[in-house]
Every structure is written in C-alpha cells, then in structure tokens.
C-alpha cells in the first residue's frame, strides 16, 4: 500500500517537474507570441479580450531600420560563420594532430581568451574600433565575432578531429595524397557532420548576439537584437512592436534549428 502511494507520489512529482520545465521554457515564448498579435492597448492584459491583429508585423516591416537590421544580421551571421569555420577547422585540426611550440602557444592563447568573460573586452573594443575607423561597419562587427567563435569552437573542432582515427589519413598518405590532400580529401569529409553542427551553432550565436550589437553597431549597420531594444523609448516601451520584431527575429533561427538539428545531434555525437 505504502509502495503504491510512493509510486504515485513519484509519478506526480515527475509530472509536476516536467510541467514546470515546460512552463519555464515555453511560457515566455507564448507570452511573446500572443503579445505580438495584440494591439498596443492590449499588451498588458494579453490573456483577456479577443482583439487580435497582424498590424504589428505590417508596421515593423514598414520600418526600414528593422528590415535593414534583419538583412545586416543575416549578412553578419553568414559571413561570420563562413570565416570563423574556415579558421576554426584549421585550428581544431592543428590542435588535434600536431605537437610543438606553435600548437602549444595557440592552445594557450585561445585558452586564456576563453577564460576572460567577453563583456570585459567589449568596451575597449569600442575604443579600438573607433580609433581604427571601423566602428559601426561590417568589418568592425565581424572581427570580434570571429575571435570569439575561434576561441570557443576550436575546442569543439579539436574534439571532432580527435574522434576521427588518424590511420585514415595515413592510408591516404600511402594511397598517394600529400599531407594537405589527406586533410582535405579524407579528414575534412569525415568531420563534416561536426562542421555542420558548428556552422549552425555559430550562425545562431551570431544572430542572437546582443552585446557586440549594442556597443559596436550604430545607425549605419543596425543589427536585429539591438534594434529590438530600441522599442524601449522615453515615452514607454512599445511591447507589441518589440514582440512582433522578436517573433520575426526568431523565424530564421527557428528554421535553422528545425532543419539543422539532425546535423547538430549527429555532429555532437561524433
């Protein structure tokens, strides 16, 4: 009898925990979604009333800054992903396969950068960017993103290459490849699931990044995350418009996640 009660209690606790986790994760997104289709007057009472509208989306899409910011974020995320992966693949391969002082120094460098919270170099970066004349430009935004990605993802990439048995490359060397050929034709295709996973993570992290967008971008190259914050005005916050922009900003990330999750899972299993 006691065993049965205990079993029921365990099941109840389990169900409540799952429901709580669900509410914590899904709740904010649901509130955001509902707010985005409520008129400005209804945003504080989103669960009451039946007044729904898509005008918020029409309005934000008519704001050139929002459209421009989405385009800029897309360009920045895509180019940061391509360039970061270009460096990260080489860096991860080097860390995995070679020894010597160059490899050790590189390892130490990225380790140090990894341990420093990147909020601590955002303000100095603002000064550097202004001094170099690249403040509020693609280059000025790209370089810090690439630096962060290289430091964070080189480790993951090293792990992917560690998981690929080097004897495959030795076989390629004997089969007529040079060292470069063995990397390009054998190790790289074998690491492809991992690289695909990193590409997705890299793209999403750039798209969602806020701190660099806030400090290092301005009116010339607005980004979607910092543009969203601009709905907080002196006269109040336009929650409906902010939510609509946030929902729009979620879409590409959602699509990338939905279509790319199998690669992420396959890659992270490597």
């Amino acid at each position: 009898m006691i065993a049965l009660a205990l079993h029921a209690l365990r099941r109840a606790i389990f169900a409540i925990s799952i429901a709580a986790i669900f509410v914590v994760f899904v709740g904010p997104i649901a509130i955001l979604g509902v707010t985005s289709i409520r008129p400005a007057s209804g945003v504080f009472y989103i669960w009451r009333g039946t007044n729904f509208t898509f005008n918020n989306f029409v309005e934000v899409l008519h704001q050139s800054q929002v459209v421009e910011a989405m385009w800029n974020s897309f360009v920045l995320s895509t180019s940061a992903t391509i360039l970061s992966l270009g460096i990260t693949v080489g860096s991860g391969y080097m860390l995995s396969r070679f020894g010597g002082w160059i490899q050790r120094s590189w390892f130490a460098t990225i380790y140090i950068f990894r341990t420093v919270p990147y909020i601590s170099w955002v303000l100095p970066l603002y000064l550097v960017n202004t001094r170099l004349g690249i403040y509020d430009t693609y280059v000025g935004l790209l370089l810090p993103h690439i630096a962060v990605h290289v430091c964070f993802f080189s480790w993951l990439m090293k792990g992917f290459f560690d998981g690929i048995n080097p004897s495959m490359e030795y076989a390629a060397l004997i089969d007529g490849c040079t060292r470069w050929g063995a990397f390009y034709r054998v190790a790289l295709p074998a690491a492809m699931p991992g690289i695909a996973a990193l590409a997705i993570l890299c793209w999403l992290s750039t798209w969602n990044e806020f701190l660099f967008a806030l400090i290092l971008s301005g009116k010339r190259t607005p980004l979607i995350t910092s543009t969203m914050a601009q709905f907080v005005t002196e006269t109040g916050t336009e929650w409906n418009l902010m939510s609509a922009t946030a929902v729009l900003a979620m879409m590409p990330a959602l699509l990338v996640t939905i279509f790319g999750q199998k690669y992420v899972i396959r890659g992270l299993r490597m």
């Binding site: 048995n165 495959m168 030795y170 060397l173 004997i174 089969d175 007529g176 490849c177 040079t178 074998a190």
Partner: protein, 365 residues
Amino acid sequence: MAEVTLQDVVKKYGTFKVVHEVNLNIAAGEFVVLVGPSGCGKSTTLRMIAGLENISAGTIRIGDKVVNDVPPKDRDIAMVFQNYALYQHMTVFDNLAFGLRNRKVPETEITSAVTRATQMLGLEPLLARKPFQLSGGQQQRVALGRCIVRRPQVFLFDEPLSNLDAKLRAQMRIEIKALRERVPTTSVYVTHDQVEAMTLGDRVVVMKDGWIQQIGTPLQIYNRPANRFVASFIGAPAMNFMKVELVEELGVMSAQAEDFKVELPLEQAAVLRKHGAKMVILGIRPEHIRFGIPSDNSGSSFSGVVTVTEQLGSEQVIALNVADSTMMASRISPETEVSPHASVQMWVDAKTLQFFDDKTEMAIR
C-alpha cells in the same frame, strides 16, 4: 616485388630510443612477420618502412632506392591497418579506386583493376556500400582489396586481424595465406599473435623492447629459440622453465632440482660442460611432457601434483606442481582421467630439453 633492407635503423622520441639498430633484409617476394609484445617497437618499425615515422638513424631501402626521406606516397607500398582505416565517406568501390585515381590511372583501367580485386576477395555485392554498412570481416577484406588493387612493390600489414573475433581471425588468416599465393608480393606483417606469426611468415622476427631477439623460419624460432624470451613468447601453452643444477656422477650429467632429475645425453652434456655454469635454466615445451612412464630408456620420469586440468576435446592440458614450479603439460590424451591434487608420474625425453644461461638468459648451444 622489391627487396626491403633496414640497416642500423634507429627510432628515438626525444632521447628515448624505441627501436635499436634494426638490421633486416627482406628478399623480394618474402613474407616476414614482426612479432612481439606491446611496446616492442614492431609497429614503429613498420611505420618507418611506410614513411609514416621519420627514422632517427640508419637507412631503409626499398628495391635499390634509399627511401629515408621519400614521402609515403612515393614509396610504392600499400598498408593494411588494424582498424581497417577505410574512408568512411566513400563507397567500397571508391575506397578501392582512391589510390589509382590519385595516380591518374584511366577510369577504364581502374574499373578492371577493382573488378579483379573484388572477384578475388568476393566483394562484388558490396561495391556500392559504405564502410559503416559492412561487418568487421568485410571491412578487412576491403582493406586488403585496397592494397592489392594497386599492385605495389611491398605490402605492409599492421596487426590487421586483431579487431576480429577468434573464428573470423582464423578464417582471414587462411585468406591472407591464399592471397599470398595469388598475388606474390614482398610483405611485412606485424602482429602480437604468435599463431599468426608461425602460420603466415616465411621468416619471423621476434622483437622485445626495440631490439630484435631472433630472426628465423617459424620452425627455427620454435625449435631453437635464441633466448628465454623467444622460447617463452613463441608456443602455446608457453615453454616451462625451471632452475636446475647440473650434477656429474660417474661421467653422467644430470639436471637436478628438488624431486626432479633428468639424465642428459652425451652431446648435450658436452655443450653444457663447455659452457661451464652449474646453475642453468631448463626449458621444456609442454607437449614434450608425457603422461606415465617411458616404455624404453629414452626418457626420464618425475612426479608432480596436478593443480588444474583443461579439457579441450582433442587433448588435455594439465598444470602440475613440480619441484616448487608450475609446469604445463599439453597433448595429454583427452580420455586420460586426471583429477586435481592427484600425484602423477610424468616423463620427458631429454633430447627435447633446452638450456638457458641463468644470468644472460641466452640459449646454451
């Protein structure tokens, strides 16, 4: 087919020497097996022949060419790896064709070469599959195919059967032997399995701690081991060793220990007398220990206490306590009833005994 010559080849990692002055001549078409325990330097030696490891000193020749600084791709060799090392993103056909494509061989020739190899190895139904869709045995066959398709000067095998289960290993051993007949090529085969070494090699090179211990045909290695290590490493169950005192009584030499005495033939006594040591190590192969008492004067008997019996169906292996040491006796008739703790009478033909120096452990000859 080419000759392979290693002359004073050394491999060091920093100051640590892992391969010491290896000298080895492998004739064209010969199948040589490097055998030894883990860390004996056999794989490193093979990788130096392949060009996957730089050599610290010495000379390696393939044919007439010194290949010390020649990259692997230009050595005209092929290698089978322990974990198959198949290109996971390519089909079986592409795996087999990869080396030929790199050498810009016309596609029609590639197709016929691949077809020939796949027919030989029974791989035709698998050509469109990827390596992860193959069993271990099939993958190893593809790895062999990748070697023979290029018709290189030298085949190198790096423990190719150690990832397979015992049954498949025995089957693949036979296939490799059959393949040798069909595609005669100079081969260097690395293994830690003495059965593979004995069954496959024209000659066997036994290594330990980076030193070559002995080079010889399988029978030479088995019957006339150069030292105690070779004697113990080759043969299963391993050779039995016992420290004995050589005693001369009325011109007859005998090897004695507590409760153990074997009279030695004249030639053997002469060799041991010349060597001069009183205490030596006696080596007896398990199959030379017989059950019962000898029917004539050719053997010496001794008694022991049975500790364990292993019934193998075709024979029995028993472990005995003889004069404070444990001895294994094999080839005991499976029908013979032997129970643990029983005291049994055994005998050995003195001509089959081996003697090793107590200090250097070298064979006394």
